[in-house]
């Protein structure tokens, strides 16, 4: 069995955000294309957790949706277990992946009992047909995520946010996936509940040998759960590195800035370099390196030439300053 489970090969996704046709004709408004994901490549090994982090609008959720097939890529290939997901007949591959969404208040049908919510993938994928078998499977799944089998008769509104997220996880697991795409699974939860869900996800990964793609904007959560981390900025990958390496020795200036901006719980009193500026308009990204207007190390080359991802040790960094050795 090859170690690589998922591979993204120069994947891009564009959205047409032009004004309506009539406006374009009458007002001469141009065609506008938003490039939400811009030529990104990474690999995901079996059994590991890769986290994608970045600020709002950086395209991390779009990547998640591209992988599970909610969007089709505009360019590039997504290869799952050695097969292109866009190839004919590859839809069956998607049965092996499931998604967990951010908001457990919106992702569960309020009119369905928990039993039906959790059993839906079992029925749809034809994993079991006898009702007793399905009921057993639901009980087993609910126990696995820390709920009681009796909860299967209740409706989602009877549960708290953390319990609902457990239901979403049970539903995701019921299709017996090997790969879970988790889009901000804990950011709608309170911190003590978040700890419960993160612990549960770690346990399940060890027990079931799952592979996670974990999307989050919270670097502390990511440092807790991820083996490797990809940092996205304006649709591009700025840096991909082992979690330990990334948090100990961030290379890309944007990664450094993000790490610097996290409020410091230890209160060491260290002075933080003030972060300047904001994410530019993705409709009109800066030329060259997208980060150059905010970057303290930007040079002439950064303004004109787009940096390509280059391996530095075990990290992959897209930065001219790092490539030229201008910054450590």
């Amino acid at each position: 069995m090859p170690r690589t489970l998922l591979e993204l090969d120069e994947v891009s996704r564009e959205f047409d955000v032009s004004r309506p046709w009539l406006n374009r004709v009458l007002e001469g408004a141009p065609h506008q294309v938003l490039r939400a994901v811009d030529c990104i490549s990474f690999e995901l090994q079996r059994g590991e957790t890769l986290a994608l982090v970045g600020e709002s609008g950086c395209g991390k959720s779009t990547v998640a949706r591209l992988i599970v097939g909610l969007y089709a890529p505009s360019h590039g290939r997504i290869v799952f277990d050695g097969r292109d997901l866009a190839a004919p007949g590859a839809a069956a591959l998607r049965r092996r992946m499931q998604m967990i969404f951010q908001d457990p208040y919106a992702s569960l049908n309020p009119r369905w009992r928990v039993r039906d919510i959790v059993a839906e993938p079992v029925r749809v994928l034809g994993l079991a047909s006898a009702e007793t078998e399905i009921a057993d499977r639901v009980s087993e799944l609910l126990t696995q995520v820390g709920l009681a089998p009796e909860d299967s008769d209740k409706y989602p509104h009877e549960f708290s946010g953390g319990q609902r997220q457990r239901i979403s996880i049970a539903r995701a697991l019921s299709g017996k996936p090997e790969f879970l795409v988790c889009d901000e699974p804990t950011s709608a939860l309170d911190v003590s509940v978040q700890a419960q869900i993160l612990n549960l996800m770690t346990e399940l990964q060890e027990r079931l040998g799952l592979t996670y793609l974990f999307i989050s904007h919270n670097l502390a959560v990511v440092s807790h759960i991820a083996d490797r981390v990809g940092v996205m900025y304006l649709g591009r990958l700025a840096e991909v590195a082992d979690a330990n390496e990334l948090f100990a020795r961030p290379k890309h200036p944007y990664t450094r800035m993000l790490l610097d901006a996290i409020p410091d719980l230890k209160m060491t009193g260290k002075r933080r370099t003030p972060v300047a500026g904001e994410v530019p308009n993705p409709l009109d990204p800066p030329a060259g390196c997208a980060f150059h207007p905010r970057c303290p190390h930007a040079g002439e080359r950064c303004r004109t030439e787009r940096p390509l991802p280059i391996a530095h040790g075990k990290s992959i960094v897209a930065c001219h300053a790092v490539a030229e050795g201008r910054i450590e």
């Binding site: 600020e55 946010g161 309170d190 911190v191 003590s192 700890a195 330990n244 100990a248 993000l258």
Partner: protein, 359 residues
């Protein structure tokens, strides 16, 4: 611009905030929601005070009553919620039972408010300049030209680049972080003595969040404004607050200097809350060698508090936290603990009662 800097900036720079008479004093505040199936008590007898120039952080999970407390202070409690007992004093004057019109004049003039979502706090149909000038003219005795120059100075102070150019822009033309700056400018335009900030950074990205935090902190320091900072993010509290109150199920579980509460929490709930926050643990800087000391994070379990906060209609007797508390004993099930002083912190926990046998 003189008016902004006139407010005796040195006064609070070095003085210990606790030694000054409190600017805001809340005593035994009780907020109830009468309903058909009985009355729910959302905030149950909480007391605290904030000194001039001090930032008091209020943390807790959703439903702990922290936002309601803030709303009660601003006088914007939504019916049927009502203040059912206790007092709120601003500079010694009771403000909890003022008529609507009087409270409206205090709000904005003496108490500023910042809310979570900067878009809904601004009127989309007016330029930010118009909104600032209107607010300034309402609260201060100035002519239009003065109001305008003051508004421009405020925009500069909260860090909006080229304020003249942005003055006539509408809220939708600003990004989230910039809008929150405008909201802050609005809330400080009459130099209020107290700012109630309810989750001011929650809707913002981390890099913007850091900018807003340092802005709030600078305002408290420069103008001697007292700030009540309501948030669920302990990191924000650690960076900004002087003291912190941890709320649980409508009560204060622990209140004390921020360092004490974070590093040596006295209440088992605060301890659990601190433990459940994922931290970026780095190998110590001097170890140097790559690959050593993997960040504590991965594979180590986070401390978790079992269960979840009780609903308002099912708050357990005794200490409300006892069903989830790893250290509960017999007394916690029967008697409700009041705040008990231990060192510089007050914790509502029987573990700290003088007559509890220490082992």
């Amino acid at each position: 611009m003189t008016p902004l800097t006139k407010a005796a900036p040195q006064q609070n720079a070095f003085a210990a905030p606790h030694l000054q008479p409190p600017l805001l004093e809340v005593r035994d505040l009780r907020i109830e929601f009468p309903g058909r199936r009985g009355t729910l008590t959302a905030v149950d007898g909480i007391s605290f005070s904030i000194a001039p120039g001090e930032v008091l952080g209020v943390v807790g999970e959703s439903g702990a009553g922290k936002s309601l407390t803030g709303m009660a202070i601003i006088g914007l409690l939504e019916p049927p919620g009502r203040i059912a007992g206790g007092q709120i004093r601003l500079e010694g004057e009771r403000i909890d039972a003022l008529p609507h019109e009087k409270m409206r004049r205090i709000r904005g003039r003496r108490i500023g408010a910042i809310f979570q979502d900067p878009l809904t706090a601004l009127n989309p149909l007016y330029t930010i300049g118009e909104q600032l000038v209107e607010t300034i003219a309402t609260h201060l005795d100035v002519n239009p030209a003065e109001a305008r120059s003051r508004a421009l100075a405020l925009l500069g102070e909260v860090g909006i680049p080229a304020p003249e150019g942005r003055f006539d822009h509408y809220p939708h033309q600003f990004s989230g972080g910039m809008r929150q700056r405008v909201v802050i400018a609005l809330s400080i335009c009459a130099e209020p003595r107290l700012i109630v900030a309810d989750e001011p950074t929650t809707a913002l990205d981390v890099s913007i969040q850091a900018q807003i935090i340092s802005l709030l902190k600078r305002l408290a320091l420069d103008h001697g404004t007292a700030v009540m900072l309501i948030t669920h993010d302990m990191g924000v509290i650690a960076e900004t607050a002087d003291r912190v109150a941890v709320m649980y199920a409508g009560r204060i579980a622990e209140i004390g200097p921020v360092r004490e509460v974070i590093h040596a929490p006295r209440h088992p709930y605060s301890a659990g809350l601190m433990g459940s926050i994922p931290k970026i643990a780095l190998p110590t800087d001097d170890s140097g060698a790559p690959g050593t000391g993997p960040p504590g994070g991965r594979r180590t379990r986070l401390v978790q508090i079992e269960g979840s906060m009780p609903r308002l209609n099912a708050i357990p007797p005794g200490c409300a936290f006892h069903p989830r508390c790893p250290k509960r004993f017999e007394r916690c099930l029967r008697e409700r603990p009041e705040l008990i002083r231990t060192g510089t912190t007050d914790a509502a926990c029987w573990l700290h009662a003088p007559d509890t046998a220490r082992t």
